[in-house]
């Protein structure tokens, strides 16, 4: 799609705002609608838009295949790791109360980390699936 100059210009302007919006949804999910699942999908859609307009090879330069594979696993590990950290600090698995000095502070921290793990996994999953599908050439 290299000859669609309007698409190229508009998407170049839009992509930073999509990423910014995704981060807003990710970190504002405790106060308004949003959270890791939605933020991950929006974050992925920015990369997918880039891949659609500028080609998969260029998008792969921004986000190499190895990086997505590693991040994919890291999200799940972060989530499970928060649970294990709860055990080491004297609580139950996935008990956030013990993560910080106060119970609500611990809950804040736990939910923040868990949502971040979910967001990472969802975003990289969507990016991976799209790139794998689009990378087919028959």
């Amino acid at each position: 799609m290299n000859d669609h100059s309007i698409l190229r210009v508009v998407s170049k302007i839009m992509i930073p705002f999509i990423l910014l919006f995704a981060l807003y949804v990710q970190f504002h999910g405790e106060f308004g609608p949003g959270g890791g699942f939605q933020a991950g999908v929006i974050f992925a859609s920015a990369f997918i838009l880039y891949g659609l307009i500028f080609g998969i090879e260029n998008a792969r330069k921004v986000l190499p295949a190895n990086a997505t594979r590693i991040l994919l696993a890291l999200g799940v590990i972060l989530y499970a790791g928060v649970g294990v950290a709860g055990i080491f600090l004297g609580g139950n698995y996935l008990d956030y109360n013990v993560l910080a000095a106060t119970a609500t502070g611990g809950q804040h921290l736990g939910i923040f980390l868990v949502e971040f793990g979910v967001g990472t996994t969802v975003a990289t999953t969507m990016v991976t699936i799209f790139f794998v599908f689009a990378g087919q050439d028959f």
Binding site: P33, G35, F37, G40, V41, V122, T125, M126, I129, F133
Partner: protein, 126 residues
């Protein structure tokens, strides 16, 4: 005012379930009557959305607002179905992607995504 025929009270209250059933059966019909695998996936996702609507419509409470705490609001909708469906939507798209990947492989192996032609090839082989 007297109505000529008596309408049972529960009819408007059950309308949401009936809409869900119509949507669900539309998806079900696509799945069982069409041979094209991509269309089957679309039918499955219609069915899926029908289930989501069922849950969300059950969580709605008259006069209840979105479940985000605020001092001015006294009545909230039920948040639990929202949580379940929120995760189910994302899981649904991930499994749909897996199904589509399987379809691509089926096309690699058989050269078609029509169920009838695949069965025909299988029969010719044995």
């Amino acid at each position: 005012m007297e109505l000529p025929i008596e309408i049972p009270m529960e009819i408007p209250g059950l309308l949401n379930y009936w809409i869900v059933i119509v949507l669900m059966m539309a998806g079900f019909y696509v799945v069982i009557s069409h041979g094209n695998l991509v269309k089957k996936m679309v039918g499955l996702s219609v069915f899926q959305v029908a289930v989501f609507v069922l849950y969300i419509s059950m969580s709605k409470i008259d006069g209840g607002s979105a479940p985000i705490l605020d001092d001015a609001i006294k009545q909230y909708s039920n948040p639990l179905p929202h949580v379940l469906i929120l995760t189910a939507i994302v899981v649904g798209v991930a499994t749909t992607a897996l199904g589509l990947a399987l379809i691509v492989r089926v096309r690699d192996a058989y050269g078609t995504i029509e169920e009838d032609e695949i069965l025909e090839q299988e029969r010719n082989d044995t």
